[in-house]
């Protein structure tokens, strides 16, 4: 399964990619913001993990743009962000995010959220 990891922090991208490798997902592609992620996304990507606060295009705007594409309408999107007030979580949900992880996260939480969305990703 191919993952697209989107975060403007190189440290966070590395942590997420290493966490994915640890739970068995080694096929990953990275992007530093929403615009780059849209350019890198194609039908081979089966799972998206994105940050919210990024330059050029935020994670929520990226998700909205992804949902507008035929090849991105149904791909699972997991948001990993420091934003955690109720309004933000609702905004992410409205943008089309399927689940939400608050930074700093544990590898266990990441695994749980991915596992919960895997059936949709495999469909």
């Amino acid at each position: 399964m191919k993952f697209l990891v989107v975060d403007d922090s190189a440290t966070m991208r590395r942590i997420v990619v290493n966490s994915l490798q640890r739970i068995g997902f080694t096929d990953t592609v990275e992007a530093g913001d929403g615009q780059e992620a849209l350019a890198r996304f194609d039908s081979s990507v089966q799972f998206v993990i994105t940050d919210w606060n990024m330059p050029n295009m935020s994670g929520t705007d990226f998700t909205r743009a992804l949902r507008a594409r035929p090849d991105g309408a149904n791909v699972p999107v997991l948001m990993v962000t420091a934003r955690s007030v109720k309004e933000d979580i609702l905004t992410a949900m409205e943008a089309g995010v399927n689940n939400y992880i608050v930074k700093p996260f544990t590898p266990q939480v990441l695994k749980e959220k991915i596992d919960a969305l895997l059936p949709a990703a495999a469909a």
Binding site: D7, D8, S9, T11, M12, R14, I15, N18, S19, R22, W52, N53, M54, P55, N56, S58, N74, V75, P76, V77, T81, A82, R83, S84, V85, K86, I89, L90, M93, G96, V97, N98, N99, Y100, I101, V102, K103, P104, F105, T106, P107, V109, L117, A120, A121, A123
Partner: protein, 232 residues
């Protein structure tokens, strides 16, 4: 009024006039946009103009007070609150950095003990491979924990970006205040520099924190479980 008393009054009035004259000259020197003192102030006499002089001085003082009130309002409008919040954020950066460093050091200590344990196992005449496998697995967990602790870097960088944004805003306010007092001075260079040094607001969350991640995650989980999440 006798002659002596009249002379005293005249003397006191002249002294008062000189004080006003001195004050006005001081104001003129400090604020170039204040009109110069009238010529009659430079001359002896002109006592009959004293009420007008005092009235003008009063107007000048009221003007300065008005500008001070404006500058106070400019400073008070959320600036103090933002500065206090920024101070808290910077304190949190310090504690988050320390917490992460301690967590990494603790994990290093545990990892070192595990390496020692592996050495002990290897030195045994019949090494317990199963036990060694368990220790290696735990060692990997510890190394992974160290990596996870580095998430503080992303959050503290957002906190520092927020602090930087507040400082840039304060600089802009101070430039506005300086303009109130000296309308002729050119602060455009400072204003442009302040604007250019401001961090991109899209790249950070002002409320980013390393604290209470479990309860914040629980809130997100609660919202996603009670409100229908979009189908993937």
């Amino acid at each position: 009024m006798n002659t002596q008393r009249t002379e005293e009054v005249l003397y006191e009035t002249e002294a008062a006039l000189r004080l006003v004259d001195h004050g006005l000259l001081g104001l003129r020197n400090e604020a170039p946009d204040i009109e110069p003192a009238p010529q009659f102030l430079m001359q002896q006499g002109g006592l009959s103009e004293l009420p007008a002089i005092l009235e003008r001085a009063n107007a000048q003082i009221l003007g300065v007070l008005s500008r001070l009130r404006q500058s106070r309002a400019a400073i008070e409008s959320t600036a103090l609150e933002k500065l206090a919040s920024t101070h808290e954020k910077i304190k949190e950066v310090t504690s988050a950095t320390e917490d992460a460093a301690i967590n990494i050091m603790d994990a290093c200590d545990r990892a070192t003990q595990m390496v020692d344990e592996l050495d002990t196992i290897d030195a045994e005449p019949t090494p317990d491979r199963e036990r060694a496998t368990g220790v290696r697995s735990n060692l990997r967990d510890e190394l992974f924990l160290m990596m996870g602790a580095l998430q503080f870097q992303d959050i503290t960088s957002q906190q520092l970006a927020h602090a930087s944004a507040v400082l840039v805003e304060m600089e802009a306010r101070l430039i506005d205040i300086a303009r109130l007092f000296d309308g002729k001075a050119d602060f455009s260079e400072q204003a442009v520099r302040a604007e250019q040094s401001a961090p991109n607001v899209q790249t950070y969350d002002p409320n980013a924190t390393t604290r209470d991640s479990e309860s914040r995650q629980a809130l997100a989980d609660d919202i996603f479980s009670t409100i229908r999440a979009p189908a993937a």
